[in-house]
């Protein structure tokens, strides 16, 4: 990151190659739509490039990236929520009609698994359990306190537990799927 700040393109390329899959997965887990995730990834890197001077080498790097990614996602959501109901309806139709590529199957699983959670809970679980961040890093990335992250994770686990138990119960009653 320090080399990227010094204008080294190779360092930038390495960062893009290493972090883009993580950031893309983060966006897919949030929205469940791969096309949106592609756009958000591009927008995030443009924003990262614009504010790269705000990273300080003494700070952990992942929370810095994710904090910017979150902001991009929020801005995207705000913009898209202002479109007309007609446009939204048309977009929904095209999304539903779009074929799901084979490589996105696993991501769709994550999005489906985390679907019952609120946006905040989903991103905390994604950061803690999928990306492997610590509580401190997740708190930095979400601009919140460690206590708030713990609380969201606790609520998320409660919802996931209820959902998974219900699914297991249904499977048990329908003949026990593998």
């Amino acid at each position: 990151m320090a080399q990227y700040q010094q204008g080294d393109f190779n360092a930038a390329a390495v960062l893009i190659a290493q972090l883009s899959p993580q950031l893309h997965r983060f966006f897919v887990a949030q929205s469940g739509i791969r096309a949106d995730a592609d756009d958000l990834l591009q927008e995030t890197w443009l924003r990262i490039h614009k504010v790269r001077h705000t990273y300080r080498p003494s700070d952990p790097v992942l929370p810095w990236f994710y904090a910017i990614a979150r902001r991009v996602r929020v801005d995207h959501y705000r913009k898209s929520s202002r479109t007309t109901a007609r446009q939204q309806a048309l977009e929904e139709v095209s999304r539903i009609a779009a074929p799901v590529s084979g490589e996105s199957g696993r991501l769709d699983d994550i999005a489906a698994l985390l679907a019952p959670l609120s946006g905040g809970e989903r991103e905390v679980i994604e950061m803690l359990k999928v990306e492997g961040m610590s509580l401190e890093e997740a708190a930095r990335a979400t601009s919140s306190t460690v206590g708030s992250v713990k609380q969201k994770a606790h609520r998320a686990y409660k919802k996931l537990r209820e959902r998974m138990s219900a699914t297991a119960f249904r499977k048990g009653h329908s003949g026990g799927l593998p």
Partner: protein, 231 residues
């Protein structure tokens, strides 16, 4: 179902590398290549926070110099020491909070709203111990004048604080506006304590301290309006 089992399900679902199309990565690389040049990282938090405190102190002193140092002249030594050391400590804490709001991925110990509530509550407690004159003459007329004067000085202080941190990037503009407003409010309050010689407890507790939460709320509203306009 146990938490460990949920962990296992999440890990199993997310297992394996997530492959992105090569053209997506190439497009990202190309988009930044043309404008890649060296940048200077932002200074450490203590440097920026010190700059903020100095700017706020300058605004408060300039305001009191113009209007007169009647308040501080009327105070005894204990009152001066307690009030201004408290204001300096709070300005440092809020200044650090504002720097953290403007640097993505910073550690946040207290939420901005909670910080505003804690600062306002502690100010009420400390000022209630110091001011014991319980008369209420000219409560509204004198009070509104002080409130408006405090807000008048809060605005340039918040604006200058924003200028000090202009290279920063607020991941949550409304929170950043709230903290900048709180810092401006503390500046307005400091100016009032330097200038105002009305030591009636209700006057100070209601109208002087109200500058802090009101300024914080105004800062959040202005940031919200700016964000709405930008998006």
């Amino acid at each position: 179902m146990k938490d460990e089992e949920i962990d296992d399900v999440l890990k199993e679902t997310a297992r394996g590398p997530h492959v992105l199309k090569a053209e997506t990565l190439q497009r990202v690389s190309d988009s930044i290549k043309t404008s890649l040049r060296p940048v200077r990282p932002m200074p450490p938090t203590w440097v920026l926070a010190s700059g903020l405190v100095l700017v706020c102190a300058a605004v408060a002193l300039a305001g009191a110099a113009r209007a007169g140092f009647y308040g501080i002249e009327k105070m005894d030594l204990l009152e001066r020491a307690l009030i201004f050391s408290t204001l300096i400590v709070f300005a440092c804490v809020v200044g650090i909070g504002l720097v953290h709001e403007m640097v993505p991925g910073s550690r946040r110990r207290v939420a901005p709203g909670a910080l505003l509530a804690i600062v306002s509550g502690l100010l009420v407690g400390i000022f209630a111990l110091l001011f014991r004159d319980y008369q209420t003459s000219d409560f509204f007329s004198a009070g509104i004048a002080c409130l408006l004067t405090g807000l008048l000085f809060a605005f340039p202080a918040a604006l200058l604080a924003w200028l000090v941190l202009r290279r920063g990037f607020a991941v949550n503009p409304v929170s950043a506006g709230l903290v900048a407003g709180t810092l401006g409010g503390l500046t307005g309050l400091a100016m009032l304590e330097l200038h105002c010689q009305n030591f009636q407890a209700t006057h100070v507790l209601v109208w002087h301290i109200a500058v802090v939460p009101l300024s914080g709320a105004l800062g959040a509203l202005v940031a919200q309006a700016l964000r709405s306009r930008a998006s």
